[in-house]
Symmetry: C2
Subunit: 227 residues, 2 copies
């Protein structure tokens, strides 16, 4: 039993005859007749009464009408979904993130993407580090990932989105050197940091950690999105 055969069958039923159905399907009458015969042969079951003039459904044929409509209906539904996906109207994008990545870039990208393709769902996956993130992108579990340079693989396409500038805000009167500020000078300094990153998804914290700077968490405040 085939899609084509079911289409032929329903066309004959709906147009009450091979001739009219063939005109509607733009195939030769003989081809349609053959198709129906072939279907009946495969099913080992007659579907129509042959009464000289027109073809009339017999009980077995009547049993097939609704199931056939259902199959064809589901098929066009699937085709509609695929057309939507092709025209970027529906679907989803899975993107990977990592703790050391600032969420601002991801949020900005998501916002602009959503404004363009409002029906595309964005799935977020977070990985421990750039290595794992790139592995997952390579394995095909994410379409793309946001990470920091250097990217730990050569086989991925990379787009530089920009530099992110961080501002250190200090109390009035603090000595501000002209030379680049050394993170080491924050050793032991109480800092206002985010507490909304249970998995340390905070670029400042991870940078300080990389520099082995111990800071005293003087006061925590909420930042980022509130749930």
């Amino acid at each position: 039993m085939d899609i084509r055969q079911l289409e032929y069958f329903l066309a004959v039923v709906e147009h009450q005859g091979v001739n009219r159905a063939a005109q509607h399907l733009h195939v030769a009458q003989a081809s349609l007749s053959q198709g129906i015969r072939q279907l009946e042969r495969e099913l080992k079951l007659s579907l129509f009464h042959r009464t000289g003039r027109n073809l009339v459904l017999n009980p077995a044929g009547q049993l097939l009408v609704e199931p056939a409509r259902k199959v064809l209906g589901d098929l066009v539904a699937a085709q509609d979904i695929m057309r939507g996906a092709r025209e970027l109207q529906v679907g989803s994008v899975t993107i990977g993130t990592m703790p050391e990545m600032s969420s601002e870039a991801v949020a900005a990208w998501s916002a602009s993407f959503t404004s363009l393709y409002s029906e595309i769902r964005i799935e977020l996956l977070e990985f421990p580090g750039a290595r794992e993130l790139c592995d997952e992108v390579l394995a095909g579990h994410c379409e793309l990932g946001f990470t920091t340079f250097p990217v730990p693989t050569e086989n991925l396409e990379r787009v530089e989105l920009g530099d992110q500038r961080l501002l250190l805000v200090m109390p009035p009167g603090t000595a501000t050197p002209d030379a680049p500020f050394e993170l080491r000078r924050l050793e032991g300094v109480p800092l206002v940091v985010s507490n909304s990153a249970p998995r340390e998804n905070d670029i400042v914290a991870s940078m300080l950690r990389r520099e082995s700077v111990i800071h005293w968490s003087g006061r925590r405040c909420r930042t980022g999105t509130r749930r």
Copy 2:
């Protein structure tokens, strides 16, 4: 988009790879690969991430999984129904009747048929006369009809089911001739007849009518099936 292509697609998804899916489908690996490529070409849409090793669904592919399952599921449902019809497990038979036909033969046939094929539904259509009944059977709207001889067409297959004997019950003391009883002798005689035949679906009434016998309906009683 084709049944075969959807089967191939789901097999690759479920077995996570062309190779294993091909073994399961008993086709060559290359044929399966071709089939998937062809499907993607038709849809103008990539369905898998090609990441060197295995094939992994991409978002468009994920969108197709459930619709494809639905199409194939409905298809096997249709095939099941057809198998049932072939094995006379489900389905229906439409039979035609006519007023002058005694319902006893129909009932007896229905009972024996139902005891053999309990899942086959019997549809009853009643027509004004043998002429109309035979036309409908010829047109394919009934599979068979119960009628009385002579059948008013040569193009139908006929099976004689038997003779139906009718008994005339008379008051004690009535003269009973040895010769065949003439219906004309019932002229004006009060008869107990059925009142359950609003459309005169009564073999006695129609026989008397054919003989132009006027009888006085002395008393009516219920016969046949009570609703």
